[in-house]
């Protein structure tokens, strides 16, 4: 009986060694012929892949230089216009999907504290900026970020055509906050005009 078991054990081990040999051959073939090609293909696939878990450090303001700038699409601040009861999250980016949730910031403009134009936009429905035309010169706009709170005072407002890009120039000489929404407010269909508020 013991002899039988030993024979069975030996025969099975031999067959398993053959299995090991096969796997080793394929592994070597893979290393020699395929690995590089698979790397190329996976590199190509990576073009379509995006790492969703971005981790960034908290923004820090040194003078007027912002280190660790927020990522596009992230909520990085809160904006408050007390005179018209606006208290909304502020997102870095002008994507329409972001504007569903709060106020967006033109990604070409500057961040609060950087000393340039901060260009913000939002929809004109009731809970957002429908009351923006009710603001008056002297009203305050407050932006609270993780690196500080910034207060601006409205000094001008105007209505422009949507294509009038000159009305919101991006400059770096003076910190100016521009916030705009579609106009007229009770419009039906596509709104051609924009209501802009300037503050500093």
């Amino acid at each position: 009986m013991q002899n039988k078991v030993w024979k069975l054990f030996k025969a099975t081990i031999i067959k398993l060694m053959v299995v090991f040999l096969f796997v080793a051959i394929v592994f070597i073939l893979y290393k020699v012929c395929l690995e590089e090609k698979i790397e190329t293909v996976s590199g190509f696939v990576e073009v379509f892949a995006a790492n969703k878990e971005f981790k960034t450090l908290e923004p820090i303001l040194y003078g007027n230089v912002l280190l660790h700038r927020p990522l596009y699409g992230t909520e990085y601040a809160n904006i408050k216009i007390s005179s018209i009861d606006v208290d909304l999250p502020l997102y870095y980016g002008e994507n329409l999907n972001l504007l569903k949730n709060g106020i967006g910031q033109d990604s070409n403009s500057y961040f609060p504290g950087e000393g340039g134009t901060i260009l913000l936009m939002g929809h004109n429905f009731k809970s957002f900026l429908a009351r923006l035309p009710e603001t008056r010169i002297g009203d305050k706009i407050e932006i609270t970020t993780s690196y500080g709170t910034f207060e601006y005072t409205i000094f001008e407002s105007k209505i422009v055509h949507e294509t009038d890009l000159g009305a919101a120039p991006i400059q770096q000489d003076e910190e100016i906050l521009i916030i705009y929404t579609c106009y007229p407010i009770n419009n039906i269909g596509h709104a051609y005009q924009r209501y802009l508020v300037y503050a500093k």
Binding site: K7, L16, V26, N186, I188, G189, A191, Y192
Partner: protein, 279 residues
């Protein structure tokens, strides 16, 4: 002569292993490329619904700016319409008719809803407002065409090659399975005096195929970050992710069965061989 026979058995079982692995992959690919299976998968992963949600999302972006109520969306485009348009795209991919994406229904519904809204509000439209409404309707139509058009563009490209690729895969599957069966017969003929020898080598092929399927699965997982895959739209990305994960799980199932059957075969056939030796 005995050594040559052992070498031949090992060589044949190695080729048999390649045949088993290739057949497995071809069966999986073929299974997914059948129109019926693809549509079943679309139902399972709720693709129609997620595309509808994306279309809705696109509409919302413009409706927010239009002064109209969001519930207008439900009146202008139904889930059924999105599903029918996707089905028409899939049909055209397989050469069963042309893709016909018609947005006149959406435009007509939108216009009707706007007019109802204007009437309810008791407003009179100026010429400028009428013009703005037309542009708004163009934008909404554009959203639908863009969302569904993305699938249409992809399907047009695929449609040109799909029938040839499908027939190539089908033929290849028949050839590979045929060759694998032929190798099995050769192995049996070679060991016709003691069939358990052939059986134990089939076990070796199955066992090594199982281990290699695990190995290939591991390579795919390590080289591609499946969960982060982004292909054009969220719904398309999610569908591809789900299908890829499904394929990997099928590979794992096949691998497990091959390992279990392989080791079982090796042990049982070796027992028979020892009994045969004693006789």
């Amino acid at each position: 002569m005995k050594k040559l026979k052992i070498f031949l058995n090992i060589f044949l079982s190695f080729i048999l292993m390649i045949g088993i692995i290739s057949s497995t992959f071809l069966i999986i690919i073929n299974n997914y490329s059948y129109k019926k299976n693809m549509l079943k998968k679309f139902e399972e992963i709720n693709l129609y619904n997620s595309v509808y949600e994306e279309v809705r999302d696109g509409f919302e972006n413009y409706i927010y700016q239009s002064g109209l109520d969001l519930n207008i969306i439900d009146k202008i485009c139904t889930r059924e319409k999105v599903k029918n348009d996707i089905l028409s795209i899939v049909n055209s991919m397989y050469g069963d008719g042309e893709t016909l994406i018609d947005t006149t229904e959406i435009r007509a519904n939108l216009e009707k809803s706007i007019m109802e809204y204007v009437e309810n509000e008791g407003r009179k439209l100026s010429k400028e407002e009428e013009e703005n409404i037309k542009i708004f309707e163009d934008l909404i139509e554009g959203v639908y065409k863009n969302e569904i058009g993305l699938y249409q563009k992809g399907s047009d490209k695929i449609a040109r090659k799909l029938p040839q690729v499908l027939s190539f895969i089908k033929n290849l599957e028949i050839i590979v399975i045929g060759l694998t069966a032929f190798l099995l017969i050769v192995l049996i003929i070679l060991n016709s005096k003691i069939l358990s020898v052939a059986g134990s080598y089939v076990g070796v092929s199955l066992f090594s195929s199982g281990i290699l399927l695990f190995f290939f699965r591991k390579i795919i997982i390590s080289k591609i970050e499946i969960d982060s895959l982004v292909i054009f739209t969220k719904s398309l990305s999610n569908s591809v992710i789900i299908i890829l994960k499904d394929v990997l799980s099928i590979i794992q199932t096949f691998g497990t069965w091959y390992v279990v059957f392989g080791i079982f075969n090796i042990v049982i056939m070796n027992i028979l061989l020892i009994q045969n030796d004693e006789k």
